[in-house]
């Protein structure tokens, strides 16, 4: 028998009000925790995948689209660029490392990326089992691809044309799995890596069928096209000069991942802000509801509290009793809200289509600690005025009056 027991017994007695208040708090906290988690995870993913990439060069079009398609593997590419021009840029003195990308096919929604060994250096990849690809039509697959598609080393599979869907399958050539990458926690987990030659081979056959470019096989790689070039500078000085040079003197465009993801985030940010205000609004209603129910209950509880005073309880003890009730409700609500937030995000993650930006509810962010504090603060704020009534109650008058 202590303050905790008295409070909780009283809360149980007023079940419906207590449940309503807990739900209100939980709803507000739930929304906020989803926002925190989602924006944190998206931000992390953007950052992690763009790490060490200073610039992307691709066909003219939307710079954001270029970044999304070639770094985050979400959107469609802006088009192709001549391989010859790309290689010229790659050997520019300001460039430390240039990674060519040839996109266009997928397997069960996982993109097949034609590139070279510089890609694995850029992301610091290593194989878990098997080897990196060496010859045409050999692939090394990301860990997520391996676990969800059940592909093993030595398995053959056909790629499908396009970046999603299994509509147009390239049945002329089958890829063979040569290795599986270690899980990296970034985009490479969801990719199928091969050399650029394989990607060409797939599409040359295609062209033959449609009686196009019959002589293509004979041409050098330099006459062909690639999708984009990921570039790492030698020195930070190039940040200003290099993109301008690309945009002005070539037929290609240069886009900076840092700038574009900042722009993307500011676009998403409006939605996040709106939701955040909505959640704050719900929390305010929760606080008001707790305040009203405690305040109303005080009329009835006046007798209880007067009795406790008669039994020897000090005013401060009863003050904390009332405060504790409000705080207990918000604390339970906050914990429930965090639980709901995490569960909801996990469910969202399961039903998400794009495998590249999957959200999960199984991680926590430090901001959630603040949510608990905010919950406690709201609880104490809402119960402060009702609790102050303790100091006003005239015990003698209350108890001699009839109930």
């Amino acid at each position: 028998m202590n303050i905790f027991k008295i409070s909780s017994k009283n809360l149980v007695r007023n079940k419906l009000t207590t449940i309503l208040n807990i739900i209100l708090v939980a709803f507000g906290v739930g929304i906020l925790s989803i926002l925190f988690l989602a924006s944190n995870q998206i931000g992390n993913k953007l950052e992690k995948n763009a790490k060490d990439i200073d610039l992307v060069v691709g066909a003219k079009g939307s710079p954001l689209q270029l970044i999304l398609s070639s770094i985050y593997q979400i959107d469609y590419p802006t088009g192709n660029i001549p391989a010859k021009d790309a290689y010229k840029l790659a050997h520019h003195p300001m460039v430390k490392r240039a990674v060519p990308l040839a996109l266009g096919d997928n397997y069960n929604g996982y993109r097949i990326v034609g590139t070279d060994t510089s890609f694995s250096h850029l992301y610091g990849l290593s194989v878990l089992k098997g080897n990196f690809w060496q010859k045409d039509l050999e692939v090394t697959i990301g860990s997520t691809v391996a676990s969800t598609s059940k592909l093993k080393i030595g398995d053959y599979f056909f790629g499908a044309h396009g970046l999603t869907g299994n509509g147009d399958i390239h049945k002329q050539h089958a890829y063979v799995v040569k290795g599986i990458l270690k899980p990296e926690g970034n985009i490479t987990d969801n990719l199928i890596l091969t050399n650029i030659g394989s990607v060409y081979k797939m599409h040359e056959e295609k062209h033959k069928e449609t009686h196009h470019a019959a002589a293509a096989e004979a041409k050098e790689i330099n006459d062909k096209q690639i999708t984009a070039l990921l570039i790492q500078y030698k020195s930070p000085m190039s940040v200003i000069l290099f993109p301008r040079m690309v945009n002005q003197s070539t037929n290609m465009q240069a886009a900076s991942p840092a700038m574009e993801s900042a722009r993307l985030f500011s676009l998403i940010g409006i939605g996040i802000d709106t939701l955040q205000w909505f959640a704050v609004f719900i929390m305010a209603i929760a606080a008001l509801s707790i305040f009203i129910s405690l305040y109303n209950a005080m009329k009835e509880r006046k007798y209880d509290l007067a009795i406790m005073r008669c039994l020897g309880a000090s005013k401060s003890k009863l003050f904390f009793l009332v405060m504790f009730e409000g705080i207990l409700v918000t604390l339970i609500g906050t914990c429930l809200g965090l639980l709901i937030g995490h569960a909801a995000l996990e469910v969202i993650g399961v039903y998400q289509e794009s495998s590249q930006a999957k959200l999960t509810g199984l991680t926590a962010v430090p901001q959630e600690i603040y949510l608990i504090w905010i919950g406690l603060f709201i609880g104490s704020l809402a119960s402060l005025i009702p609790a102050m009534q303790i100091y006003k109650v005239d015990i003698a008058a209350t108890l001699t009056k009839d109930r």
Partner: protein, 208 residues
């Protein structure tokens, strides 16, 4: 045990009541008589430390009640004075036994589970320990409130109009219960009433 000297109280509206001096010894049983509105409740509130008198002093076990801090007064009341109100005023969210334990907790005294059960048994309501106040009759509730007043082994038991809403038979029973319980628990007893039926049970009277 209790010493009231030259006590008087002025109400907010300006009415002044002077209380005759009063000396109560250990285990004395007193009747506080007077018509409604002559200050019985006021005097009881003053004795129990709920209302500071305008003038005079009140000593309980040689402690001047109103020289203590607010917190100590509350604690003193919880440990030394058991109060039985006209209405039972039990906490409705707690069962009978919890209501008794609450008295100990609020006064900061260790809980004596065995004794609480014994008290309920003595008052003939031993089988109601786990019931909630809503489920009890008025008579049973009053017994619980007597038991609660006795939980902390008080030196003084105060009952305010305990018989006003009862018929002759029940009134006699309640007075009988109060006098024997006070005697058994070694407490002095003050019954405030305007009920003439009580007079025949208790010899000493203090008239307002």
């Amino acid at each position: 045990m209790i010493n009231i000297r030259s006590l008087s109280h002025v109400y907010e509206k300006g009415r002044k009541i002077k209380f005759p001096d009063w000396q109560i010894e250990d285990m004395d049983q007193w009747l506080l008589l007077g018509a409604s509105g002559c200050g019985k409740s006021t005097l009881l509130n003053i004795i129990s430390g709920l209302l500071k008198p305008t003038q005079g002093e009140i000593l309980i076990n040689d402690t001047d009640l109103y020289t203590l801090s607010a917190r100590s007064t509350d604690r003193f009341r919880g440990r030394h004075i058991g109060i039985i109100f006209q209405r039972p005023h039990l906490i409705r969210s707690l069962n009978v036994l919890d209501n008794l334990e609450l008295a100990a907790v609020m006064a900061g005294v260790p809980i004596d589970h065995e004794r609480n059960l014994l008290l309920l048994k003595d008052l003939g309501i031993g089988n109601l320990a786990k019931r909630y106040p809503d489920e009890l009759s008025q008579g049973q509730l009053q017994r619980v409130s007597v038991a609660r007043a006795l939980v902390n082994k008080p030196d003084l038991l105060i009952a305010d109009e305990p018989t006003s809403s009862l018929d002759d038979e029940n009134a006699a029973q309640v007075i009988e219960m109060l006098t024997t319980q006070a005697k058994d628990n070694g407490a002095a007893l003050i019954i405030a009433t305007h009920d003439q039926r009580v007079r025949e049970h208790i010899a000493k009277t203090y008239l307002l």
